[in-house]
Symmetry: none
């Protein structure tokens, strides 16, 4: 049965890769557009990401691996890992930015997640944003990656009750497609752009 | 007697396969339609399923096997197993979605069903929806699959009183055909579409 | 019939008041014990509550009114309302604490309950704890208070299927007595004390 | 209802005042001990405070008023407001000292809080210390004072998700008692003393 | 995994070098403009730098190495290290000039950083300028260079909470591009020029 799953999974990936190829033109154009935007007066960092991955300090490489899978195998881009958020900012400001400037927040649940209260705080704050900010509903995705996943039993209770994404589950590819929907992304991006345009002055007030 | 049953059963399957072939055009078109819908602004997850399978955590593979049988042998699609409901949502919201966005609810009765109160709650809530929500009448189907079925004697009393579907019963194919009727599906889908169109604003209020 | 109910209701309250008087010694001792505990090294907040009331932000006063009724008319104490959970903690940590350190969770169903997704999340998480954590079975009580109650029709479906407590129902006093049973309280308190003693180190792991 | 709350609140205060009187001997002794310590060779500033109040520059008076309430009405002393931190030190060193030499940090949330990025930085740094430094967990208390409080809607998102203390809330007295627990204070003070004794040389390294 | 990162990193650098070549005309023009400005009566030091590197006395060579990387590999120029600030001025005036006449301030975090309180003071003052002076927001970048980096654990607490730049991190090139944005540079330069023109008289008063 497992083999069967794996095969299905890989077939899924093949299909996706084909889709990736088909959408290459669009993607390439997209890339160029981003480059153009960047070459102008606007900030390089001024990107509305499809996803941000929150992770323990020791999980940077695992987070980057997941980022690569989502970006390269599933064409979900651009994404960012928390460790690569803007330098020179307070880490809590980084967290604020992470939630503000991305459509989905992935919480990497590994054994390291339990090392620091700070990671739990990140996940709680992300979850709270999804519960209180319009359009952010259901945008926080706990994810158990392939390496060193945190078992359900040891996951903090509040996170236990949220449906997590399992990299090793046979339905992984299907789930990923369900989560990162274009419509939801565009909707959130429009809100973000509107706020950027109008909110520069009242920067600290809005969300 | 058993042989006779089995033969009947297999003949049934042959007939069904023919029906499947006949309906291939429709199905293919259907698939394309879904793809088109998905490529647009709408959500990939925005599907009204023919069935959802509620199951114990340890029964994911068994649930997927049953899903495959219903989808491939009986052309009843699309279906979904509970484990593949949208990530990033509360599990109780998943349950709500499962009941809202499918025409029939299958409760997989295995020995594992007794492991957690949570599975019993799922089945009770599904049953309650069939008893209180218009058009959902008789849409919850307890099912004993081939592997590790929960004997009637150990089934919670409330579920004992509902006629269950037995995969190993000779009348299985016949029963399946009786349950998943096109008219009932269309009727429920129409209600679902109506609610989706009108209920976006009063989202939290309705069913 | 209504008058008859009301009379019964008031007679119930008289009886309860008598019981309250009778149990005064115990209660007083109890109070003293708590005071002693507080004067020592232990936290003032380290109380295992009989109940916590989850409520919408605009329902603090209604929640406090219900708390007073339960504490003063029914001698069920100590209880706490969510708004009075420990300051300086993340609101989701407050929710976790609320479920961990109380025997029963009351969900105040008023019209305001629908204002924020956050309240629905609270109720779902409470309910999920009752379904997955040993000894918490049947400890979540949706309650429609006298003022501004949320009608059944507009209650989220999952909560519709749980028997709610109605303050204005003639059987209210009877129901309250049935819910808050000493045996169940002691059982949960013992678990809580055991965990407090042993779980200090593995704080984030247990539940 | 409000009047009722206020009355309860004032009754609480009366009770507390009585407790203050009763504990006068202890408090006085405590005060004397501190005086003795101060009269020696050590720095006057070498006190481990119960609380420090971080505030906007324009809120000094409001901060002092809150300090007086905590010290005089609730016997929580000694406390200090940020404006009274040691002169001749860099303001960021003051901030460091404020967090190091007090058990609890109160962030005064008024309209003025939004005037300077510097206040937000203070609150973020305080919060971060509570998330990363052992024993500082849950020691940062956002507080909305009676005068000119910053409404929740305009509070920076990260701080919105932390349970704040409201001076005008009926549960204020109860909350204050819950926060400033003797056990937690002694624990932190012991750590501070240990570090002072051992850490003088490696001053910049520890926390 | 590390090797993989390094490769990616080096590929990034190659790309960047190409970009450097492409932008040579612009850069050269830019350089000429700067030269012209410098050839007049004005001070040679009258340049608005892209960055200044604050560093311990023993880290001059390391600071120059980092300066070279930023200038030559990333085309971020002109930059200056603190040791090369104008002679004949008080070191604190040098610090003032460093912050006034550069867009970004890099704090070189090495083991030597802890040798003198003076370095900590520099970093605090730089950080404070970013928190209180308009347009300087997020312009102070703590950086751990390849050689002799100061580990996070021994970094002063206030600086711990600011996202640092790590030369050896795989995302280094990406981060550098995000930080030194043309728009932010031009904005600050305009302010600097405006002040130079108008502020000569009230030179010591304003910022």
């Amino acid at each position: 049965m497992k083999d069967n799953y794996t095969r299905t999974n890989q077939e899924d990936l093949k299909e996706i890769t084909k889709l990736c190829d088909l959408s290459l033109d669009i993607e390439t154009n997209c890339h160029i557009n981003i480059q153009e935007t960047q070459s102008g007066d606007e900030d390089v960092g001024d990107i509305f990401y499809r996803f941000v991955i929150l992770h323990a300090e020791d999980d940077v490489e695992e987070a980057v691996r997941v980022q690569d899978i989502l970006q390269n195998d599933f064409c979900i881009k651009p994404g960012i890992v928390f460790a690569e958020m803007a330098s020179g900012k307070h880490l809590l400001e980084n967290l604020n930015d992470a939630l503000r400037s991305s459509a989905w927040t992935i919480i990497l649940l590994t054994e390291n997640f339990l090392n620091e209260l700070w990671y739990e705080f990140q996940s709680y704050t992300a979850l709270f944003s999804a519960l209180t900010i319009p359009n952010k509903q259901n945008t926080v995705i706990p994810m158990r990656p392939r390496n060193n996943p945190l078992p359900w039993e040891r996951t903090p209770f509040i996170l236990q009750s949220i449906r997590a994404l399992h990299e090793d589950s046979p339905g992984f590819a299907e789930q990923v497609k369900k989560i990162f929907q274009e419509g939801k992304y565009k909707q959130q991006k429009a809100v973000w752009e509107y706020r950027k345009k109008n909110g520069e002055v009242s920067k600290q007030l809005d969300w």
